[in-house]
């Protein structure tokens, strides 16, 4: 973390390196997971997706939590757009469920909202068929849109559904907050994930009290979990004010939280495989 790139420098970098990753056929699947609800999983997924796309990658975000409307709200999608829920119930293909985001981006961004159904869908998620469906969705999206990065925003916890999803990615981002329950749960998640042959696992700690030294928090997390720390995001009043009505980095490009998210995106970008 010697050089902290601001989003502005990030965009400069993106222009230079865009050609390096785009179109080399090596799509990467990033899964954003957390042990508990409400730690900012969807926010992290949406912002990192936005940053990568802004810098030139072709990115898609799938929200697999069919009871969530976070992605729909953040990208201000109309109620008519099709969802992952519709895909699971075979009402549409995954390509049809993906909505193109028309922001000023150097790359492309597609999002598949989860669908804000208050009850769980009829599809059993523990059945092997769910894993097959998710895997199929992943492949189809990557091929159809020639993606560089596919970000999956999962459901929290270590339920059987969540475990199924944890087998899919190349990179796993574990989101947590400064909370004892998160620390314990993340410890368990890290151990379980090690048995699933995921190439890379990184932590993003969210809403860290402003009085904490981010460097100290980072080192402490690394020591405890023996796991890479992608970003230490401070608690931000602006995040509360935004109330998930927009993409945070788009709204506050120079905020410390945006700088932290850019760090994380940069470290995903610079993976050399």
């Amino acid at each position: 973390l010697a050089i902290v790139p601001t989003p502005a420098t990030w965009f400069d970098r993106g222009y230079e390196e865009a050609g390096y990753l785009t179109g080399n056929g090596m799509a990467r699947t990033v899964l954003v997971h957390s042990f508990r609800h409400g730690v900012g999983r969807s926010t992290i997924a949406a912002n990192i997706g936005y940053l990568l796309a802004a810098a030139g990658q072709r990115v898609a975000i799938i929200e697999t939590d069919t009871t969530s409307s976070a992605i729909r709200n953040m990208f201000r999608l109309g109620a008519a757009s099709q969802t992952f829920y519709d895909y699971l119930n075979q009402r549409c293909s995954i390509e049809e469920a993906a909505t193109t985001i028309n922001y000023q981006l150097n790359g492309e961004l597609y999002v598949v909202p989860g669908g804000d159904h208050l009850v769980f869908p009829g599809v059993s998620r523990t059945a092997p068929s769910y894993l097959e469906k998710l895997e199929l969705a992943r492949r189809n999206l990557i091929t159809a849109y020639r993606l560089d990065t596919l970000i999956i925003d999962t459901e929290p916890g270590l339920s059987d559904e969540a475990l199924s999803e944890l087998t899919v990615p190349d990179v796993l981002i574990l989101a947590l907050r400064h909370d004892m329950r998160d620390y314990q749960g993340t410890g368990v998640t890290v151990d379980v994930v090690r048995k699933l042959n995921i190439a890379r696992c990184g932590l993003i700690i969210n809403e860290v009290p402003a009085s904490f030294d981010p460097a100290v928090v980072g080192t402490e997390l690394e020591r405890v979990f023996q796991c890479e720390v992608l970003a230490v995001l401070p608690h931000a009043e602006e995040m509360m004010l935004l109330a998930n009505k927009d993409i945070f980095v788009r709204h506050y490009p120079h905020h410390p939280v945006s700088v932290g998210l850019t760090d994380a995106a940069l470290s995903l970008w610079n993976m050399n495989y």
Partner: protein, 346 residues
């Protein structure tokens, strides 16, 4: 300032009104005078020195007398007015002078004290922060020497920095030279407050003390200073002792400036106006000092931040998941998926 003299402008505007009424009176008298003089002159020219003409002369003399008297009265009134105006003018001049002094003070506050305060809040190194406080105050007051004390355990004042330009002395802080002065106790053995030492007195009361000559000052015991003077050959004369108070009036330390120098480098007393400015400076310094102390305390606390994970529980929970049939199936499935698509293997 003008608030002190609310009647000032009202009285000033009274003067022309009085003048105007006086002038009207003079005009009326002059017209009467001309009429009578005219009457007498015409009588004399026509050689008709009748009783009427004598009557005219008599009236003329009476009027002359009246005019003289009126002139005297008017002159007196004008003299009073003129005296009042000049008195008001001199009052005005005093106010103007005060205004200039205040303006100068505001300028100094704005251009000197506040920038120093800003520089102090930006200082990250504690020793350098303390040194900056002392040196800035010393330069600002043209003081030859200065001492900075910090309150320790609410019990005593420790010498933190001792600087003396004439003796070439700079100890404490980043200089690395240690100070061998004993701390000044704030309370004696019986728990009574120590008001005899000026620094202790200032720390206890939180009020600035300005002393023109330590050897002639009454009420304070300068034996420590005098011993120092005997030892070094220095002559400590004028003292300005200022508390470093936080927003709640809690004294964090004491700043003592010694021997203000005049234009000819002679030792003079500290200017009373300077005293106010140094008090302002010291309150800014205290804010920086307190912010530093608070931040340091917080950092110390955060250094202690330790993330605790119950390892036994963690292992048990991991085993619960990993050893299920479902998880083993998942592992196999995952391997199979990856094998089916070797391109994606990482």
């Amino acid at each position: 300032m003008t608030h002190d003299h609310p009647t000032f402008s009202a009285r000033q505007s009274d003067i022309p009104v009085n003048k105007a009424s006086n002038l009207r009176f003079i005009v009326v008298v002059s017209v009467l005078l001309l009429l009578f003089v005219g009457g007498w002159v015409s009588a004399w020219l026509t050689h008709s020195f009748s009783l009427g003409a004598f009557y005219g002369i008599f009236l003329f003399l009476v009027m002359l007398l009246v005019v003289f008297l009126l002139t005297a009265v008017l002159y007196r009134q004008f003299a009073d007015k003129v005296a009042e105006v000049s008195r008001l003018n001199s009052k005005h001049a005093v106010l103007l002078k005060q205004l200039v002094v205040e303006k100068d003070r505001a300028d100094k506050l704005l251009n000197v004290v506040i920038p120093i305060g800003v520089a102090l809040s930006a200082e990250q190194n504690f020793d350098r922060l303390l040194e900056k406080i002392l040196l800035e105050a010393k330069t600002f007051c043209h003081a030859d020497a200065g001492t900075l004390y910090l309150v320790e355990d609410n019990r005593q004042l420790a010498f933190v920095l001792v600087h003396n330009d004439t003796l070439g002395l700079a100890t404490g802080g980043s200089t690395g030279a240690s100070i061998d002065f004993e701390p000044v106790a704030l309370y004696d053995e019986d728990g009574q407050p120590n008001h005899s030492n000026v620094a202790a007195h200032v720390a206890l009361t939180g009020q600035t003390v300005n002393i023109a000559d330590a050897y002639k000052a009454e009420g304070f015991n300068f034996s420590g200073t005098q011993a120092f003077d005997l030892q070094t050959g220095y002559r400590s004369t004028s003292f300005l002792t200022v508390p470093l108070k936080n927003a709640h009036g809690h004294v964090l330390g004491v700043l003592q400036l010694i021997n203000a120098s005049g234009d000819q480098y002679q030792v003079i007393a500290f200017d009373v106006e300077l005293e106010q400015l140094v008090t302002s400076l010291s309150s800014l310094a205290s804010v920086a000092l307190e912010a530093y102390i608070r931040e340091q305390a917080l950092r110390d606390q955060i250094q202690l931040l330790r993330i605790e994970v119950d390892e036994a529980k963690r292992k048990q929970q991991v085993d619960e998941i990993v050893e299920t049939e479902f998880f083993k199936e998942l592992q196999a499935k995952a391997r199979e998926i990856r094998k089916r698509n070797p391109d994606d293997e990482v």
